[in-house]
Assembly symmetry: C2
Homo-oligomer: 665 residues x 2
C-alpha cells in the first residue's frame, strides 16, 4: 500500500524492498505486499549463476533454462510490482577476458529477459571497474537504443567506498594510476558520470542511490539534485533504534529522504531486519505509545520488515502539506515554456488573469508609486499639484488600480494615462473605467507607447515589461521609446533592472530540449519553474538597464564575461544556465526573482534557462568562463552565449545572429 | 606571375605581398604585380583610423567615407588580387569599454566592406587578448554565418611572442592569472584554438601563420599539419644573406615553406627590403653566377622586393617533381570514400582494374605462395606432389596469376580452384583461363566461398579480402566459412592480420563529414588518403585475426581499450582516428599500410578514418583513452567507438548497434 495518501510526490509514495533470490517469486512478492511495500527489487537470475557466453560453448551444447519461468506472475505483476536486479557478478570490463565476455553476454541476456517481462525498471549493479566501464556502458547503450521503454537504474553508492587493499589488482588500478584518477575513483558520482556520458545522457538511464550508515557531506549530496535520481536504496543497517526500540533513521538520512520524496524519488529498503524485538524497549517507553504500537507490533511479528515500512510511511506522511501556491506551480516544474513575445503577439485574457493573480507584485508596485508620489509632491502642494502618471503597457489595468490605491494612501492627486497596444485589453480597460469609476482620473489610450503622441509630459512612467531575464521582453526598447513624453525630472518605475546568471546541472531540462531533435531548441531560452536542478556556483550579474536613459544615442546592446568558481565538492556536469532578474522599482522598493533577494510570495516570473548544445564535465573547483551578449538588429533583439573555460569545455557561440531565437521589435 | 609552372600544389604557386596603406591602391597593386607577386595583402582602411561606433555618435552626426572608393579597382581585381587586412588597432575584448565597442563596430564594418568588394580572403590580426577573445570571435562568427563566401585568415605567430612586461596590464592578465593560463597564452596555437572552437570549426576560418626569424620546434610546427593553414607570412627580417649577397631563408624556414607549398599553402612576403645592394657581394661571388644574376639585379633595382620573390620562386621550383604514383593519388587526398561492401555488392570492372595495377601487392603474394610451396613440398616430392590452392575471392584472376608464377619459380606443381561469387568477374576468369592457357591447372568456380561444396581439401587458401582496417571487409567471416575445405595442416595466406589506430588532427576531414549534416556520417568510417593531418600519438594495435581459426565456436567480436600518450608539445585538437592494418601473408612476408612498416610502393589501400561527433581539445601530454568494439549480428558486422579520457572529453559511444554504419554479411 502507498506510504501515504498525498498525490503530489508522484511515484514516491510507492516504496519497494530489495529481496533475495527465490524460485518462488510469488511468495516473495506476497510477503512484500503484505508487509506494506508496493514492489520488490528482485534478482532476475540466481545471483551466483555465472554462465559462459554462447560464443564460448561448443555448437549444439544443451542449455538449461537460465532462470525461472515468466508464467509465475502475470505480466501486470511483472510490470507493476517487480524491479529486476541484474546479477552482481557481472564484470564486463574485467581484465579476465573470459569473465568480461561472459559478463557482457549475461548482461545482454538479463536485460533482454527484463524487457520480455515488460518490467518498468531494472536495477544495475555499480560498475565493478569504476571509471573503466566502457564495455558495461556499451551493452547498456545498445539496450537504451532499442525499442523497449524500460528504465535502467544504475546503483551508485552515495559515499565513497573503501578503496581495495591491493590497488595493483585488476583494471581499476590502471584508471587510478594517476593521483587524479584515484581522486576520481573515490567519488562514485564520477562512476555514474562516465557511464552516462558514454550512453549520451539517455533519458532512460537513471540512478538508484545507495545510502550507507554514513552519508557524505550535504554539498556532495546536493549534486544529485540535477541528476535523474529514480530511487534511493536505504539499508536496514542505516537505521538506529529510537527510545522505544523502534527503527529510526539518523537526522541527516531523514532530511535527505524527505528531499527525495518531494522530488518524486522512490525509496527501496534493503537488507535484513535488525529490529526484531521492539518489546525490549517497552519498560522505558510511554504507556500510551506502547498501546498505540500494538497493531504495529503484531504486524511486525509476522513481517519483520514491517517496522521499517512503518517508519518510511511515517517520514512520508509527516512532510508538511504543500501550500496553495506550490500546488499551482507543481504542474510547471521543469516544464519548458517559450518566453513571451509581447511586442509581436497580443497576450490572451488567460495570461493577464494569471499575472493579475499575483497580489504581491501589485502591492509592491503600489508601494513604489506611493513613495514616489510622496517624494515628488510636498505635503503643502498635496491639493494643488496633480502628478501625471503614464502606465505604459497597461494591460487590463492592474497597475492603474495599484497607482490609484497609492494615490489614495499618499493623499496625492494624480492623473493617469493608460497606454495599451492590445485592442482586446483596451476593451477591458474601457469597461473597467466605467465600472470602477475611473472617469476623470484615467484616460485610456489605445496605442503603442513607442509611437503615441502624448498630449502632455509625464511625471512618472509606470510599466511592467520585464521578462524572467529582466530585459528579455524588450522593456529597454519600449521604455526608450516612451521616455520622450517624460518630464526632464520624470521618474520611471522601474528605475533599473539587472539580470543574473548561474551554471546548473539539470539532466531533465537538457533532455527535454534534446527531445525536439534540432539545433534551434538548443539555442533558445526557456521560462521554466526550475525544480530538479543543482546550481554550480553563486549567481553573477549580467546586464543592467536604467531608465530613463538620457544618453545621446541609446545603445541597448551588451556584452559580458563572467567567471564562475564552481562550488560543488567534486566533479559535476553543466547543462546550461539559469537566469533571473532583480528590478529596482523605486529606490529601496525592489521586485526580484533573484534567489538571494526573491520577493516573497511572488510568482509572476519563473527563472529562464539557457541550454548548451552538449553538457560538459566540470572538474572540482573549476573556473567556468562564460561570455554572453545582448545583440540588436533592426527588427529583433537576441542573446548569444558561449563557454570559454574550462579550456576543454569551450563551446561554439550559441544562437549567432539570432538564427534560432530572438524577440521581435 | 606564378612562382613556378607546376600545377600540383594548387594555389601555392601564387605568392602575395603585404603592403602598407596607400590611397592609390592601383599603383601599389601594379608595383606588386611587376615585382612578380600575384596578390597584395592590403589594409582596407587606414590602419590608424580609429573611429567611434555609430552607437557612440550623436544622431545625425556627419560621417565622412571611412575608406577610399571601391571604384579604384574592378571587382575582378579586388576579388583576385587583393586580400584585405583588418585594422590592427581593433581590440574587441579590451578592458576599455569604449575601445571594445568601437572595435566590434569597426571589425563588422571592415568585414562587411570586404564582402562588398567580393574579396576572396581577409587577413585578421591576432587576438589582442589571447585566450580572452570571445567578443572578437563573436563578430567573426556572425560574419561566418552570413551569406558571403569570403575566407577569414586569422594571423597567428608561429612562435610564442615575448610576454608583456607588466602582466597586470589589461585583460590578458586575468586569463593568465593561473600557471596553466600563462602556459596556454604562451602558445599561439591556443589563441587560434579558442577562436576556432567559439566559431564551431567553421570551414571558412583558417590560419595565416606568421613566421619569425626563429621558428619553434619541429614538433610544434607539425601541429599545423592538420589545421586549415591557408597562408604563411614570411617577414623579410627572417631572410639571411647568402654568399653572393642575395636574400635566402635559413634551412628550417626553407623546409617548412617547402612543406607548406606541397600542401597548397600560399606564401605572403611581409616587411621592408633588407637586401638592396646585392652588388656588394659580387667580388667574392662566382663570375658565371653574377652574369646570370644580371637580369635579376636590374629588376631588383626597380622593385626592391624582387630578390625575395626570386628566392621564393627558386624554393618553389626546386621541389622535386611528384612521382607518377603521387600524381595518381593527388586527387584522392583527404577525399572521403565509403568503404567497400564486397559481400553485398559486386565490384565493378574499374575497381578490379585499379587493384590489379598494384604490382607490389601481387609480387608480395607471389613471394608468400612461393615460400609456402617450398615449405610444404620437399625437393624430392616436387614432381610427385600437387599442392591444391584455392583462391577464394579470385576476382579477375591476379592472385591466380601470382600463384602460377610462384609455382613456376618454386618448381612445385599446383592445382588451383579459383572461387568467385561475382558472375561478372567469372566471365573474365573464364576468358583468361582460355587466353592464358590455365586449363588443366585452374578450375573456375562461380560460387560464394561460404557455401561452395568443394570436391577436395585444399593445402593453401589464398585470399585478398582485407580492407583498410584489416577485418573491415569481413575477411574473418569469409575465411571462417571457407576454411572447412582446408586440410587440417592447411595454410591460409594471409595467416593473420592486425589493425592499428591513432588519434589525429584533421580539420578538413571532420568538416567534410559535417557537411553531410546528419548523425549517420559522424558514425561512419571512411577510406581516405590522409594528407592534411597530424597524428597525435604513435599507433596502437587494435584487433587481430588468425587463420585458419580452429576454435570450437568462432567469435569474431572484439573489444579493446587503448591508451594513447599524446606527443605534441602543446595543446592539440582531436578530430577522430586514423586506422591501418598489417597482414602477415606467410611468416615474414607481410603486406602493410601501417606507417612504420608500410609495404613500399603499394597503393591498394588508403587508411581508414573514424570521425568523432565533436572535435575535442587535448591538453599537452594528455593520456587519451579509447574504447573500440567489433560487433556482430546475424546479418551484419559493425564497429562502435568512444573516447573515455581525458575525463572532460568523454564522448558518447558512436554507432551503437550499427545504427549508422555496418558491413552486411
Amino acid at each position: 500500500m502507498p506510504l501515504g495518501k498525498r498525490m503530489d510526490f508522484g511515484d514516491a509514495k510507492y516504496a519497494g524492498v530489495e529481496v533475495a533470490w527465490a524460485c518462488d517469486i510469488v511468495e516473495t512478492l506476497e510477503n512484500a505486499l503484505t508487509t506494506g511495500f508496493d514492489f520488490v527489487m528482485a534478482p532476475l537470475v540466481h545471483p551466483r549463476f555465472r554462465r559462459p557466453a554462447p560464443t564460448a560453448l561448443p555448437r549444439g551444447t544443451f542449455q538449461p533454462p537460465f532462470t525461472r519461468s515468466d508464467l509465475l506472475l502475470g505480466s501486470g505483476q511483472w510490470g507493476g510490482q517487480v524491479v529486476g536486479k541484474i546479477s552482481p557478478w557481472i564484470d564486463c570490463d574485467s581484465a579476465n577476458a573470459a569473465l568480461a565476455r561472459d559478463s557482457a553476454a549475461a548482461l545482454a541476456q538479463e536485460l533482454a529477459w527484463a524487457a520480455h517481462l515488460s518490467l518498468q525498471a531494472v536495477a544495475l549493479p555499480p560498475p565493478q571497474q569504476p571509471l573503466n566501464a566502457a564495455n558495461y556502458a556499451r551493452v547498456l547503450n545498445e539496450v537504451l537504443g532499442g525499442v523497449a521503454s524500460m528504465a535502467l537504474w544504475l546503483r551508485i553508492p552515495a559515499a565513497a567506498p573503501t578503496l581495495p587493499d591491493d590497488p595493483s589488482d585488476g583494471d581499476a588500478a590502471s584508471s587510478s594510476s594517476s593521483a587524479e584518477g584515484a581522486v576520481l575513483v573515490a567519488d562514485p558520482w564520477e562512476w555514474w558520470n562516465q557511464i552516462r556520458f558514454l550512453c549520451h545522457h539517455s533519458p532512460r538511464l537513471g540512478v538508484a542511490l545507495e545510502l550507507g550508515a554514513d552519508l557524505p557531506s550535504e554539498a556532495n549530496l546536493q549534486r544529485w539534485r540535477g541528476e535523474p535520481l529514480k530511487a534511493v536504496v536505504v539499508p536496514t543497517s542505516a537505521f538506529l533504534t529510537n527510545k522505544r526500540g523502534f527503527p529510526a533513521l539518523p537526522k541527516r538520512h531523514q532530511d535527505f529522504l524527505t528531499e527525495c520524496f518531494k522530488r518524486g524519488v522512490q525509496v527501496v529498503l534493503s537488507g535484513n531486519p535488525h529490529h526484531t524485538s521492539p518489546e525490549a524497549a517497552q519498560p522505558g517507553g510511554n504507556a500510551v505509545a506502547v498501546a498505540a504500537d500494538g497493531a504495529a507490533l503484531a504486524a511486525a511479528a509476522a513481517n519483520p520488515l514491517r517496522l521499517y515500512w512503518e517508519y518510511l510511511s511515517f517520514l512520508f506522511r509527516k512532510i508538511e502539506a504543500a501550500s496553495e501556491q506550490e500546488l499551482v506551480e507543481m504542474s510547471y516544474r521543469d516544464y519548458l515554456q517559450s518566453p513571451l513575445q509581447p511586442l509581436q503577439d497580443n497576450l490572451e485574457s488567460q495570461t493577464y488573469e494569471t499575472f493579475e493573480r499575483d497580489g504581491t507584485k501589485y502591492t509592491t508596485y503600489e508601494e513604489a508609486v506611493y513613495r514616489c508620489l510622496l517624494d515628488r509632491v510636498p505635503q503643502e502642494e498635496a491639493e494643488s499639484r496633480v502628478t501625471v502618471l503614464m502606465v505604459v503597457g497597461a494591460g487590463r489595468g492592474p497597475l492603474v488600480a495599484a497607482s490609484l490605491r497609492a494615490s489614495v494612501r499618499a493623499r496625492r492627486r494624480i492623473r493617469i494615462y493608460a497606454v495599451e497596444k492590445n485592442p482586446n485589453a483596451v476593451v477591458t480597460l474601457q469597461n473597467r473605467a466605467i465600472a470602477d469609476g475611473w472617469e476623470g482620473t484615467v484616460t485610456i489610450v489605445p496605442a503603442d507607447m513607442r509611437e503615441w503622441d502624448a498630449p502632455e509630459q509625464a511625471d512618472v512612467l509606470v510599466s511592467e515589461l520585464l521578462g524572467s531575464f529582466g530585459d528579455n521582453e524588450l522593456s529597454p526598447e519600449c521604455l526608450d521609446g516612451a521616455q520622450r513624453f517624460l518630464k526632464p525630472d520624470g521618474v520611471s518605475i522601474p528605475q533599473a533592472y539587472t539580470s543574473q546568471l548561474q551554471p546548473i546541472t539539470s539532466h531533465k531540462l537538457w533532455n527535454d530540449v534534446r527531445a525536439y531533435d534540432d539545433l534551434e531548441h538548443f539555442e533558445t531560452a526557456y521560462v521554466v519553474k526550475l525544480f530538479k536542478f543543482c546550481p554550480l556556483a553563486p549567481t553573477q550579474d549580467v546586464f543592467t538597464f536604467e531608465h530613463p536613459n538620457r544618453a545621446h544615442v541609446i545603445d541597448n546592446t551588451r556584452s559580458v564575461k563572467l567567471s564562475f568558481e564552481c562550488t560543488p565538492p567534486g566533479g559535476t556536469v553543466c547543462h546550461g544556465f539559469a537566469g533571473y532578474f532583480d528590478a529596482k522599482l523605486y529606490n529601496d522598493v525592489h521586485l526580484s526573482i533573484h534567489p538571494p533577494t526573491h520577493t516573497p510570495n511572488m510568482f509572476s516570473w519563473f527563472p529562464i534557462y539557457f541550454p548548451l548544445r552538449e553538457p560538459f564535465y566540470v572538474p572540482q573547483g573549476a573556473r567556468m568562463d562564460v561570455a554572453m551578449w545582448r545583440c540588436a538588429g533592426k527588427h529583433k533583439v537576441w542573446y548569444e552565449w558561449a563557454v570559454t573555460a574550462p579550456h576543454g569545455a569551450a563551446t561554439p557561440i550559441h544562437n549567432p545572429g539570432g538564427r534560432s531565437y530572438y524577440v521581435g521589435l
